[in-house]
């Protein structure tokens, strides 16, 4: 299967050493061991992965958290490979949604190799797996083609979800994304800074153009990549083949 494992930098921390050893042993026992590469600040992840694919990698596995996965997703869909995750550290919500257990138990999921093709989101030609977020700042317009939506207040946050726990309906195999608009209110008294979200809207979508009336707003994809409005967001159906667990949430 030509497995290539990419271990994120934070996993070098002492507290993960024993867990990582257990994982390496279990992978060996199950016969799904392969090449292992540790990410460093000096090497580009994209170059490392693309070099592995040139050398015959068919399965690329990220050992790390949501950030590790997100960094790979921005370029991985260009290549015909299967993607797997061994979740270590927090947050690991993407692995949870895909039904992959934490730590050493993930090796058995890799070995069982249940694969499915999932949708990805695409924002101005860059891919994202989880969600896209716009902060509450000013009125935002979303053009869906035959109709458009405008927020009536400047305290609405917008999230475009693919795999995301906060949009309970989100299913990465349904061929669409969901725009979730939440109204932000301050809660708990006059001087409280605690945020509360009271009302919300949900719009399933295949493509949307997001614009703002005044200055550009930052759009954050998967909590990593930042782009400024205006942006075009669309679904890339069945774009990535991933290894999933039995307890996947879709």
């Amino acid at each position: 299967m030509h497995y290539y494992y990419f271990i994120d930098t934070f996993v070098s921390d002492k507290k993960y050493v024993s867990q990582l050893n257990q994982i390496e042993n279990r992978l060996m026992q199950l016969g799904v061991n392969g090449h292992t590469e540790k990410l460093t600040m000096l090497k580009s992840l994209q170059e490392m992965v693309e070099s592995a694919i040139k050398h015959g990698a068919k399965t690329i596995v990220a050992i790390g958290n949501d950030d590790t996965v997100s960094k790979m997703i921005s370029f991985l869909p260009k290549h015909a490979v299967t993607f797997g995750i061994v979740p270590i550290g927090e947050p690991n919500t993407i692995a949870d949604k895909l039904g992959i257990p934490r730590g050493v138990a993930a090796c058995d999921t890799l070995s069982a190799r249940i694969t499915t093709k999932i949708d990805l989101g695409k924002v101005n030609n860059a891919y994202f797996i989880s969600s896209l977020a716009l902060p509450a700042d000013q009125a935002v317009s979303m053009d869906f083609g035959t109709y458009h939506i405008s927020t009536l207040t400047s305290t609405s946050t917008i999230q475009i979800c693919n795999i995301n726990g906060s949009a309970s309906q989100s299913d990465p195999t349904d061929g669409q994304l969901e725009a979730v608009v939440r109204e932000e209110t301050r809660g708990g008294g006059l001087f409280s800074k605690k945020r509360r979200y009271t009302t919300h809207s949900v719009f399933p979508l295949k493509k949307v153009k997001i614009t703002t009336d005044h200055q550009s707003l930052p759009v954050i994809a998967d909590g990593q990549m930042m782009i400024k409005t205006p942006v075009t967001v669309e679904v890339a159906p069945q774009k990535l083949k991933v290894i999933v667990g039995k307890n996947r949430m879709f």
Binding site: F144, T146, Y147, H148, I149, S150, T151, L152, T153, S156, Q169, D174, Q176, E178, V181, E183, T199, H200, S201, V202, F203, P204
Partner: protein, 143 residues
Amino acid sequence: MALFPNGEHEQSGEMETVIGASVKVDGNFHGEGNVTVEGVVQGTLKTNHDLNVGRAAKIKAEVEAQNLYLSGEIRGNVKVSERAQLTSSARIIGNLETKSLSVEEGALINGKIAMSGDHGQGEMEPPTTKEEKADKKKDQSEK
């Protein structure tokens, strides 16, 4: 999210659209699943499934749905292929076409209501006058 409060609506398996109170929709909106409206809609609003219009919702549009549960206001013509249920706070300023209709006291409809349905159609006898009834009795006694 339950569309009809008594849980009568069927799960369509499609994604539900929720138009919340903080957004305004302009244009031709065609939902592929159930639609809930709590905000403002202008233009046309269509769904092949259920449409739930909340108390604070303001719709100025031509509306089409399979089932309608209305507590808010619709200004425009409404076409419901199955069942329309209007609560006491419902307002329709326009014509309503539906197969089945339930209206709570206090609801307002300013427009024509056209009802089409399978039940009972073509089976009803035309009303008879007193004279016609007397004639019928006479005929029976003569026989």
